[in-house]
Every structure is written in structure tokens, then in C-alpha cells.
């Protein structure tokens, strides 16, 4: 930029201002968009790295079951799995883990369940949000079936067992000996839940 070309001539000075201002305005609008782009980027980042205790969903259970038959069961190691059931504020269902703790071998498929009971007088819908600690273990946790994959509906006074089918990868690092799976149950309020299709967990 040559400053000698911008003395007090107003007409000559107008053009560079306009271009610069349009550029800077566009830049700030783009950064506003970038703020929103951080939302999917954040989920993508957590997905790729498996941090934040979020687990990739294995919907194709057949291939996963086939893989479990592969000779990958490591009976020399026993991992302690702690199962925690939590309820969010205002959630009135009873919610408990059938097994508080399991001792598992990496590579082997296990089945456990959580129980839920709706003591209220109305039917309602709930969704469980999972979390894994330590977060590093989440990429070695394969859930074949989980009640957290979909919303759960209970009629007034009804109860049900909600299954969880999982396998710990044999590639789990040696220093992880305990894995905590925690599920927090939230009530799905009909008017802001929609069909839940936009929700990824």
C-alpha cells in the first residue's frame, strides 16, 4: 500500500475504504459462522479421537458379533467394569444398574441390563446419555446393543429391563484396569425433542 497515493483527496480515498470495509465486514460475518461451525467440528473431533467419553455407535451388530468370535479373547487380563445409573434433575423414574460391577476379559462379549420404572401417573419418554471414564477407554469399548441408542418409553407404573451388550477390545492398553460406564437418564420433553433424529450421541 502506497501512502503517498492517499492525501486529502476524498474521492480517491473512498475506494480503498470501501474495499477494506467490505472485506473486514465479510471477515467478521465469516467468524460468526465459524463460531457455529465449531459445534459440528467439536463433535467430529470428539468422534475421531474418542475423547469426551463419547462412543461410536456400532449399529451393524452382525459384523461386530462375527468379530467377537475371532480369536481375540484375552483371558489373562481381567478388567473391572463399573456401571453407574444417574438421573438428571427432575427425572422421576427409578433407574438402576442390574450389576453394579462386572469382571470381564477383553475380547469377550458380555450382556448386562439396567432397570427402569416409571412411578408416575403418566407415560413418559426418556433418553440415557452415556459417558465413559477414563475417556481414553472409550475407543476400546464396543457396544453392540445399548438402551442409550434410542429413546425409552414407559407407561404409567410400568417397568422394564433395558439391555446392554458390550465387548472390551483386546487392544485395551495394559494400564487401564477399571472402566466406568455411567448413564444419565433425561426426561424427553415432547415439545423440544422432535423425533430425536437430529440427535447424535
Amino acid at each position: 500500500m502506497n501512502p503517498a497515493s492517499t492525501p486529502a483527496k476524498a474521492t480517491a480515498a473512498r475506494n480503498p475504504h470501501r474495499r477494506l470495509v467490505i472485506g473486514l465486514t465479510f471477515g467478521s460475518i465469516a467468524m460468526f459462522g465459524f463460531g457455529f461451525a465449531l459445534v459440528p467440528l467439536y463433535d467430529l473431533f470428539c468422534d475421531l479421537t474418542g475423547i469426551n467419553g463419547k462412543v461410536r455407535q456400532n449399529t451393524n451388530s452382525e459384523t461386530v458379533l462375527n468379530r467377537t468370535q475371532a480369536p481375540g479373547i484375552d483371558t489373562t487380563r481381567t478388567i473391572k467394569i463399573q456401571l453407574i445409573a444417574l438421573r438428571s434433575n427432575g427425572m422421576r423414574w427409578a433407574f438402576n444398574a442390574l450389576d453394579k460391577q462386572l469382571l470381564v476379559h477383553p475380547g469377550q462379549l458380555y450382556r448386562t441390563a439396567f432397570t427402569a420404572m416409571n412411578p408416575t401417573a403418566q407415560a413418559s419418554v426418556a433418553r440415557a446419555v452415556p459417558s465413559v471414564a477414563p475417556s481414553e477407554a472409550s475407543q476400546y469399548l464396543h457396544k453392540i446393543q445399548c438402551f442409550c441408542f434410542e429413546e425409552q418409553a414407559l407407561a404409567a407404573g410400568a417397568s422394564q429391563q433395558m439391555p446392554l451388550l458390550f465387548r472390551i477390545d483386546a487392544a485395551l492398553p495394559d494400564y487401564i484396569r477399571t472402566i466406568t460406564l455411567s448413564y444419565t437418564l433425561y426426561e424427553v420433553v415432547p415439545d423440544n425433542a422432535g423425533d430425536g433424529s437430529g440427535v447424535t450421541l
Binding site: 471477515g27 463460531g35 481414553e136
Partner: protein, 537 residues
């Protein structure tokens, strides 16, 4: 104003010289950068005292353990509002006001590049802050979730007035972005012939970089409050785990804005100090180019360190290490700056007028704040310090004797140019010493009570913290009331100060001193000044 119009040869040959309009509409409709700068500075001063009263309420409650004066709910509103007002209402508008006054004069421009937008970006602010302060009188009270307004405290559990807070933040953001665009356009397009980029005074350089930071991050802040608004009113779930969102996402987006924001509040301070120290050392600034590059590096690094505010949320180890080391890296360009200031003073013919005293105190006390920042950067240690008074001590050391001292120094430094009169040096020095003692008395003990485990933002504390808290409260009242001396000094200067020469400071070299009379005429540099070609730095 009329007594010293003649001394400068090329100040004004323009026959159409006219002064400001009369009455209140002068201020409402003005497009003059000096008028707008003055309004920004007075607005900032008002907010400084508003936020200061809140700080003193906080310190009064913490004078003794137990609950004496405030209810915890109101205490939370005070800590939140104190932070918001000081950050967005006092420090940022003060720097924009200084930029308005000084940038056109320092680059030899007749005014800001976009004077009407300049008027608009100022006049948004009083409305934004009236709206935000009005929430204190609403049902449920004002914002009470901390100035960082973490979700879900600011969404699910927020008082109903939070929507006013959100719109106030939107308005401040628009004001800041417009101000930044204006400053960039002025610096890039309106420099006088011969004023090359590497001859710009350092205050102008730091403001150019700050303006780019503002444009990059204020929209992200607008984005995050918009997400809050949608979560609260439109049923989205950005930060609500029940709907598939994540509250930690809020912290990531907030600090992506928040960390560059803290540099927005300190880079112009670096610029001010880099003007004042050479003037009163009667030497050129040591390492001008390295100062420019160091400022740019700090600005770049500020974008990749944000998660050091979030070490305890459960980041993976690789993340903690990355953010720890990138944060420590900032100490390198900052160290370059501190050493350059010291090297500038080294063997200079130093005198210690009030602006210089504040500038030297800035260098010393800001460095203390920088060191405690390095301690906080150590991820494992941060697990102990997180959310304690140690953090409060750290950021008050960089913001009060950092940003605020630099603003006060700038005020004393340029007051003769603004008003055409000298302030009272003895009262200026008194103001400095009371402030210096007050600030250290307030914030130094906070390091100790923080390390001992006193949590921040809590209206009560365990008995063993009582003595240091009492000292801090006494210091806070000393500091707060001694700021009345600043107001007194300014008023005395405007009313009764002895006339100031065009260049009252011996070592000053920048255009506003060398090419303009004091007070600076209402319209300066209608003809671009001659930049002496030998005056390269």
C-alpha cells in the same frame, strides 16, 4: 483554546476553520474523532466507577468471614457484573477512546476513516450498558453466573433477565467490531505521506493488531450468546446434554473468544507503555521491529491456547500437554517486550513524571502477573490453583496494574495535548503512590489465600483466611477511593491547569507532539504533515 493557536507553522492554513457545534447535539451528532474519543473516555470512567463500587461491595462483604452485608444471590450478581462492566465497559472503551484520540494524530490523518460509523459505534454503548445494568432491578436479579457465563448456569439455571444480558453483549460486540473496522481503515488508508508501516508509533501498531483480534473473536462471542439464546427460547440443545448437546462445548467456544480477548485488553497497554518509556528515558525505543513482531506473535498464539482455562474439564493428556506448552510459549514474545522496555530505560536520562511512574509500575507489576500466569499454565499445578483466589490475583495483576495503569498513564501523558493545560504533578504523584500501594495491598495477599485453597466467587470463607482478606479489603478501599484523585486531577487540569506548550515532554517524538499545538485543534492535519525522513526508528 484561543491563546496558543500561533506557534506551529503548518498546523492550519485553512480559512474555513470552525470549532465544534454548540449544545448537547454537538455530542449526539458529532463525527469528530476527538469528541468521540472524549465521550469514550468519559463513558469508560463512569463504568470504571460503577464496576468499582461493585468491587468494593464484594470486598466489604469479604472483610470478615460470615455473611454481613450481602445475600449470596446478590453477591453472585456483583461478581458477575463487576467482571462484565470492567472488561466490556471500562477497559475496552477506554482503549477505543484513546485510539480515537491518538491514532489519527499519530499517523497524520485528519480524522478517522469512517466518522459516521464512529459516532454510531460509540452511541450503541450507553444503551447496551443501560440495558445490562437494568437487569439488576428486574425480578430474579441480574446475571449471577460469573462473567464467563458458563452453560448451564447461564441457560438452564439463569435468571429470566438473561435475555437482556444476551442482547447487551450483542450490542457491545457490534460496537467493538465497528470500532475495529474503523481503526484498521484509518491506519491502513489514512497515513500521511512518508509514514510507512515500520515508522508507525507502537501504540498504533498494537492497536492495528488488536483491531484484527477484535474482528476475529467478537463475532464468535456473538455466536456463543446466540446459541444460549436459542437454547433458552427456541428449544435447541447446543449446551444441553439431554438433547445431545454438551456444556463443555460452551467453554471451548467461550474461551476461543476469551483468550484473544485478554490480549485485546493488554496489547494497547503495551503500545502506551512503549510510547511513554522512550519519552521519559529520552531514548529511542529499544528494538522497535522486535516489538512489532513480538506483538504479532502474541496475537497469533492467543488463538491456540484457549483450553488452558479448562484444564480441569477432563481434557485428554495430549490436549493438556499441547495447551500447556503453547501457553508457555507466549512467555517468549512477552519476555522480549519486557526486556526491550528495560533496555530502553537502561542508561537513559530518566525523569519520573506521573505517566512514567505508572508506566514503570506497569512493567514491574504486569511481569508479576505474567509469572503467576506461567504458574497457572502448568497443567498439573493448575488442578490446585483452578478457581481459587490465585487465579483472581493473577488476572487482577495483569488487568489492574496492567491495563488500568496503562490507561491512567496514557491519560496523564496526553492530558496536556487534549486540554492544552498541565495537570498538577504533585497530585499526580500522590495519585500514583496511593494507587500503587492500594493495588498491591489488595491483590498480593490473594496469591497466598488462593494457594491455601480459598475458592473464588464465594461470599464466605474459612476462618484461617480472615487476616489476608481484611488486608485485601483495606487495600481495595484505598485503591478505589484514591481513584477519586484521578477525577480531581483531570477536573483541576481542565479548569485551572497552567497552559501547556506544544511539546511539554522533552523526549516525545511522535507527530501529535511535534506537529500540533496544545490543545490539539478541533480539526488537525487537514494538510498532511511532513514526516522527517531521517526519523526512522
Amino acid at each position: 483554546m484561543e491563546t496558543l493557536a500561533q506557534p506551529d507553522p503548518h498546523a492550519d492554513q485553512h480559512g474555513s476553520h470552525h470549532g465544534p457545534a454548540k449544545g448537547f447535539t454537538r455530542w449526539l451528532y458529532t463525527t469528530n474523532h476527538k469528541d468521540i474519543g472524549t465521550m469514550y473516555l468519559l463513558f469508560s470512567l463512569t463504568m470504571f466507577f460503577t464496576g468499582g463500587i461493585m468491587a468494593l461491595l464484594i470486598r466489604a462483604e469479604l472483610f470478615q468471614p460470615g455473611l454481613q452485608l450481602l445475600q449470596p444471590e446478590f453477591f453472585n450478581q456483583m461478581t458477575t457484573m463487576h467482571g462484565l462492566i470492567m472488561v466490556f465497559g471500562a477497559v475496552m472503551p477506554a482503549f477505543v477512546g484513546l485510539a480515537n484520540w491518538m491514532v489519527p494524530m499519530m499517523v497524520g490523518a485528519p480524522d478517522m476513516a469512517l466518522p459516521r460509523m464512529n459516532n454510531w459505534s460509540f452511541w450503541i454503548l450507553p444503551f447496551a450498558f443501560s440495558m445490562m445494568l437494568s437487569t439488576l432491578f428486574m425480578e430474579g436479579g441480574g446475571p449471577n453466573f460469573g462473567w464467563t457465563f458458563y452453560a448451564p448456569l447461564s441457560t438452564t439455571y439463569a435468571p429470566p433477565s438473561v435475555t437482556y444480558f444476551i442482547f447487551a453483549v450483542h450490542m457491545m460486540g457490534i460496537s467493538s467490531i465497528m470500532g475495529a473496522i474503523n481503526i484498521i481503515a484509518t491506519i491502513l488508508n489514512l497515513r500521511a505521506p512518508g509514514m510507512t508501516m515500520m515508522r508507525l508509533p507502537l501504540f498504533v501498531w498494537t492497536w492495528l493488531i488488536t483491531a484484527f483480534l477484535l474482528i476475529a473473536v467478537m463475532p464468535v462471542l456473538a455466536g456463543v450468546v446466540t446459541m444460549m439464546l436459542m437454547d433458552i427460547h427456541f428449544g435447541t440443545s447446543f449446551f444441553n446434554a439431554a438433547g445431545g448437546g454438551d456444556p463443555v462445548l460452551f467453554q471451548h467456544i467461550f474461551w476461543f473468544f476469551g483468550h484473544p480477548e485478554v490480549y485485546i485488553m493488554i496489547l494497547p497497554a503495551f503500545g502506551i507503555v512503549s510510547e511513554i518509556i522512550p519519552t521519559f528515558s529520552r531514548k529511542r525505543l529499544f528494538g522497535y521491529a522486535s516489538m512489532v513482531y513480538a506483538t504479532s506473535s502474541i496475537a497469533f498464539l492467543s488463538f491456540i491456547v484457549w483450553a488452558h482455562h479448562m484444564f480441569t474439564v477432563g481434557l485428554p493428556l495430549a490436549g493438556e500437554l499441547f495447551f500447556m506448552f503453547s501457553t508457555m510459549l507466549i512467555a517468549v514474545p512477552t519476555g522480549v517486550k519486557v526486556f526491550n522496555w528495560i533496555a530502553t530505560m537502561f542508561r537513559g536520562s530518566m525523569t519520573f513524571e506521573t505517566p512514567m511512574l505508572f508506566a514503570i509500575a506497569f512493567v514491574v507489576l504486569f511481569t508479576i502477573g505474567g509469572f503467576s500466569g506461567l504458574m497457572l499454565a502448568i497443567a498439573p499445578a493448575d488442578f490446585q490453583y483452578h478457581d481459587t483466589y490465585f487465579v483472581v490475583a493473577h488476572f487482577h495483576y495483569v488487568l489492574v496494574p496492567g491495563a488500568i495503569f496503562s490507561i491512567i498513564a496514557a491519560t496523564y501523558y496526553w492530558l496536556p495535548k487534549w486540554t492544552g493545560r498541565m495537570y498538577n504533578e504533585a497530585f499526580g504523584k500522590l495519585h500514583f503512590w496511593l494507587s500503587f500501594i492500594g493495588v498491591n495491598l489488595t491483590f498480593f495477599p490473594m496469591h497466598f489465600i488462593g494457594l491455601a485453597g480459598m475458592p473464588r466467587r464465594i461470599p464466605d470463607y474459612a476462618l484461617q483466611f480472615a487476616d489476608f482478606n481484611m488486608v485485601a479489603s483495606i487495600g481495595a478501599f484505598l485503591f478505589g477511593f484514591s481513584q477519586l484523585l484521578l477525577v480531581y486531577n483531570i477536573v483541576q487540569c481542565v479548569r485551572k491547569g497552567s497552559p501547556a506548550p506544544a511539546k511539554p515532554w522533552d523526549g516525545a517524538t511522535t507527530l501529535e507532539w511535534t506537529a500540533l499545538p496544545s490543545p490539539a485543534p478541533y480539526h488537525s492535519f487537514q494538510q498532511p504533515p511532513q514526516i522527517p525522513t531521517g526519523s526512522s526508528r
